[in-house]
Amino acid sequence: MSSLAIISTLIRRELRTAARTRGYYLLGIVVAGTLLGLTVSGGGAATGYIPTVVDLLLPLEVLVPAVAVAIGYRAIPSDLGRGEVAMLNTYAVSPSAYVGAVYLGRAAVLSAIVGGALFVVGLVVAVAAAPDTGVFATHSGVDSPILFARFLVVTLLFGNAVVAVVLVASIAVASTRTAIVAAIGAVLVVVVGGEAAILLGVLDGVFSEATLRLVLGFIPNSAYRGLVFETVVGVLSPGASGYASPLVSVAGLLLWTGGSLGAAVGLLRWRIE
């Protein structure tokens, strides 16, 4: 049996599991309701996509990791606890195929929840905002749904990196109950700890302006914020950018995703032996 066939079978299992988990529907409604509430109450809906992005950026830095923890912390510890990983171990399922499939399945769930909620927000802005937001192609300086689509893509890139961090943290502990603590702890360390380290570095003069732009790209939240500033908000005011390198930020998020998944595979091998 090919690895591709096995991975697709495992991904289908993840998606069917998610589709039958009522809590995820509730989570989707809560996320969509929260984002819509912030959009309407912040005035972004009436003024355009970019004001909406500015309104939602900070809440999403908290909300997206929370969703990632909710959908990711139980996936592998539950399979370990039930003995399903041990059973799968007797099939031609490698730890990397298993972890990869669980990740892709859970990332798809996060994308559906967060992406769906942002899509609804985008529709609301399209209906409620000023008429000049209907421009699809022009030189910089005009609000556009394309910019909001970029924001959506960058948000999912950030969210899926956090899902990978949650998965590796959840495998490191012994039970499902402790997995949620580990997942939240890991996200806090990565998010708060990373930014605090940068702040201390700046205060102590460790980072110059040039190195700071580089370092910011390697902390998930900073990378996300930097990408939004540089590729979405900054487009409206050319020349005023310089928060973080978009390339480094994308590389940073992909590194967190790949590094976490690699560590998750190694930890899983260790757990089942």
Binding site: S78, R82, A86, L88, T90, Y91, A92, V93, I272, E273
Partner: protein, 284 residues
């Protein structure tokens, strides 16, 4: 994810009774830090037979099974698989099996069946493990015993040459436990090497072709149930077990309330057995 210390599909070993060994362990030793689990265990797991591993709780039966499966690395020694080169050489029934509660029995079996190359008649499999009537029931609605039956079905799925079952009868009523052993016996008759770790000595005595009694440090005795009973001049397998096992073995609770079920113990035979052989060397 199956792996072995040594694999040689060409070389075939013979067991003591002439059957073909599909898994052979040589000097198998496992310790967790300073705590030895078993030491220098040599076993030949025969194709077409049921091998039962019995012993007190905490003595290392599960670890031995996991070592055979390649899930646990031995501290020393080797496990050699000499069976056919298939995508799933070994099936496994864990001690406390469970499945994703969101799926039905049928969907669960279909999922695992989709992971093997061989075509699987899932309806026939569900009939074999007595779950056909419950095939549309969610796993969350199954009793513990039914979940174990589902796990038995999963273990033999795709007809692997070897299947390791950890407590296949645990949590089942006597009739269902007997059915599980009968089902595994039929699989063995079809050529599968069935390894069970069990505390249900009456079923082991009835169905196993080969019994390995583990005690602290390794194998206390091994052989066909009738041979062991004859060797120890015992009335039944429980009496053999009682004579072969050091009362201090296991995790402390094992020899008083742990291992065999009370129904297996002929209490009036303790005295008779105590006069039997005390050599715990067995086939070690």
């Amino acid at each position: 994810m199956t792996n072995f210390d040594s694999t040689d599909s060409q070389q075939h070993h013979a067991t003591g009774d002439g059957a073909t060994a599909v898994v052979t362990t040589t000097g198998l030793t496992k310790a967790y830090g300073d705590r030895p689990i078993f030491d220098d265990v040599d076993l030949d797991i025969a194709a077409g037979a049921m091998t039962a591993v019995i012993g007190p709780n905490g003595i290392g039966k599960t670890t031995l099974l996991k070592t055979l499966l390649g899930h646990v690395d031995p501290t020393a020694g080797t496990v050699t698989y000499t069976g056919p080169d298939v995508d799933r050489p070994m099936g496994y029934l864990p001690q406390e099996p469970a499945f994703r509660p969101q799926f039905t029995v049928s969907e669960t079996v279909d999922f695992y069946a989709s992971l093997v190359d061989a075509a699987v008649d899932t309806e026939e499999l569900l009939c074999e493990v007595n779950l056909y009537e419950a095939r549309n029931r969610r796993v969350s609605a199954l009793s513990g015993g039914m979940r174990r039956l589902l796990a038995v079905g999963q273990a033999v799925l795709g007809t692997p040459p070897v299947v390791c079952c950890d407590e296949p009868a645990s949590g089942l009523d006597p009739s269902m436990a007997q059915q599980v052993f009968e089902s595994l016996t039929r699989r063995a008759a079809d050529g599968m090497a069935v390894v069970v770790a069990s505390h249900t000595l009456s079923l082991v005595e009835m169905y196993a072709d080969h019994v390995v009694i583990l005690e602290s440090g390794g194998v206390a005795a091994a052989g066909a149930p009738t041979d062991l009973i004859g060797r120890y001049d015992a009335a039944d397998l429980w009496a053999v077990y009682d004579a072969a096992i050091d009362p201090a073995a296991g995790d402390g609770s094992a020899t008083t309330v742990g291992a065999p079920r009370r129904g297996d113990k002929p209490t009036d035979q303790d005295t008779a057995v105590s006069g039997g052989p005390t050599d715990s060397g067995g086939d070690r």
